[in-house]
């Protein structure tokens, strides 16, 4: 396969401004985007892929997606390569389109170089969030937990059960940052950090890191170790949606089904899940949004022991997760992926290895829960899957 003939540039627009003291960088991006989609005879509602560099406000194009009200994004790329970034983006967009990951990709570049030093643009949401002590990421998870409790009757005890399950698993991991097994009462006795979240609802803060190597099928076949097959992948964004924010639903509600569909499996087929656990409430919402239980039933799922390996309904984060084991650089995605690989290779710690583990799901969150976040989900299988 190549990208030759698989993608076309259908619209292009150069902003007419050369001195723009009266509009923000976000607004220049917006005007450029509107011009390009209009040139193509399309609307921003048609855009399902967003490609941006460092000149776009916010991490990973997220603030721009919010500003523009892009709600159907299923592919994002924020490769930063200086002035050459848009060419990377066109090439990467073509690859994504060729694979069916998106079909209408928007590439934008904008900035105000006159009178401004090099550096990233300010965030358009800052004057309406940061000034009030938005306290990312902690407070957004607390706001979500409070509303989840109100709508669904979720309790602090149910949130604590997520931490307890992680701590049960961490006992088997000699490298875990926290190895002490906790009880629900322990978690509730820890100090409140942002009501209703207690300190023990939070992940650990650790140094460290990790890496994975992705290879072609031809290379995998030549290697001595058992590889893990990538079966499906999905991405999605949620943001403030012009003021219609809903903090009880994560972007996994869109990314999960996309990944499962590509893999050709259902939630019931999954043997093990790595679920992003920066805070306990994140696990509860992902369980629901990924389809492992109905909306609002994530709390009882955890409280009933459903997450505990090896025999719970859905063993999760068997390394102890971010809640007890490791959360290097305040980013949990790599450790989540690594533990899923261990499970599929049969190399998890013996006390928590899921017997006959053939299918695993990895779900990660980037950003503030629901309010402005990206989700990515992988479905992984054994090499012979």
């Amino acid at each position: 396969m190549s990208i030759r003939g698989r993608a076309f540039i259908a619209g292009a627009f150069e902003h007419p401004g050369r001195r723009l003291p009266d509009i923000s960088v976000a607004q220049i991006h917006a005007e450029a985007a509107l011009g390009a989609v209009a040139d193509a005879g399309l609307s921003l509602d048609d855009v399902d892929g967003l490609f941006t560099g460092r000149d776009a406000p916010g991490a990973g194009g997220l603030s721009l997606a919010d500003y523009l009200g892009l709600r159907g994004l299923r592919y994002l790329d924020s490769t930063e390569s200086g002035g050459a970034s848009p060419l990377y983006h066109v090439g990467h967009a073509a690859a994504a389109i060729a694979l069916g990951k998106c079909s209408i990709a928007l590439v934008t570049l904008a900035g105000k170089a006159r009178g401004h030093a090099f550096g990233g643009p300010s965030l358009p949401e800052d004057p309406f969030e940061t000034v009030f002590g938005a306290r990312p990421p902690l407070a957004s998870y607390a706001l979500a937990a409070q509303r989840h409790m109100y709508e669904f009757g979720t309790t602090s005890e149910q949130l604590a059960a997520v931490k307890v399950a992680a701590s049960v698993h961490a006992q088997h991991n000699p490298h875990a940052f926290l190895r002490k097994q906790l009880t629900v009462a322990d978690v509730l006795a820890s100090p409140l950090v942002a009501d209703p979240l207690h300190r023990d609802d939070c992940c650990v803060v650790t140094d460290g890191g990790g890496a994975v190597v992705v290879v072609s099928p031809e290379v995998a076949a030549t290697l001595p170790r058992q590889s893990v097959k990538l079966l499906g992948h999905g991405e999605a964004v949620r943001h403030s949606n012009g003021g219609k924010v809903d903090v009880t639903v994560t972007a996994a509600a869109a990314a999960g089904p996309a990944a499962l569909r590509e893999a050709g499996v259902t939630p019931a087929d999954i043997d093990y899940a790595s679920l992003y656990d920066s805070f306990t409430i994140a696990v509860i919402e992902q369980l629901e949004d990924l389809g492992f239980c109905a909306k609002g039933e994530g709390g009882p799922f955890a409280a009933d022991g459903g997450l505990i390996a090896p025999y719970g309904r859905l063993p999760f984060n068997t390394d102890g997760g971010g809640l007890c084991n490791n959360h290097p650089a305040n980013r949990g995605g790599i450790t989540k992926t690594i533990e899923a690989v261990r499970q599929l290779r049969g190399e998890a710690n013996p006390g928590v290895q899921v017997p006959g583990c053939e299918l695993a799901l990895v779900s990660a969150i980037g950003g503030d829960l629901a309010a402005r976040m990206r989700s990515a989900v992988l479905v992984l299988g054994r090499e012979d899957a």
Binding site: P21, D22, I23, S24, A26, Q27, A30, E31, L34, S43, L44, D45, D66, Y67, L68, G69, S122, P124, E125, D126, P127, F128, E129, T130, V131, F132, G133, A134, R135, L138, A139, A142, L143, A144, Q146, R147, Y150, P191, L192, V193, A194, D195, P196, L197, S240, N241, G242, G243, K244, V245, V247
Partner: protein
């Protein structure tokens, strides 16, 4: 604690919004094409992508959609605790803000609140909310 009042960065297209805050008025952006109220305010409509949007004065009342008492603040808010919330305005949008002049223990989702402006640096005041007395 006495809440800090950080100065918002005033982007050029929102100068009118911030000027209104110094006069005790809360503005919303309204889309004339689809009719939606837009928050946070911006010129293009994030719902229908029309650029035909205008300022409209909000009533300044709403109810708490969700809230948290932040006990581990950072930056200007390091001297926690304080209340961070989303307030659902009567006009519909859910806006991030602080709840002030309140007893933390008396807060609950659905509580009626009204806007109160706290002067920041010259040219802006922060729209915070307090329980309706």
């Amino acid at each position: 604690m006495t809440l800090p009042v950080p100065s918002p960065e005033i982007s050029p297209e929102l100068a009118e919004f911030w000027a209104a805050t110094t006069e005790g008025r809360l503005l919303l952006r309204r889309c004339r094409a689809c009719g939606e109220a837009i928050w946070y305010p911006r010129p293009p409509c994030p719902f229908c992508h029309s650029t035909d949007t205008v300022w409209e004065q909000a009533g300044g009342r709403g109810r708490i959609y969700t809230y948290t008492v932040v006990r581990r603040g950072i930056g200007p808010y390091k001297d926690a605790p304080y209340v961070l919330a989303y307030v659902e305005l009567d006009e519909g949008p859910r806006v991030m803000t602080n709840i002030v002049d309140c007893d933390f223990g008396a807060l609950e989702i659905g509580l009626p609140v009204e806007v109160t402006f706290r002067p920041a640096a010259e040219g802006a005041a922060l729209p915070r909310f307090r329980p309706v007395s």
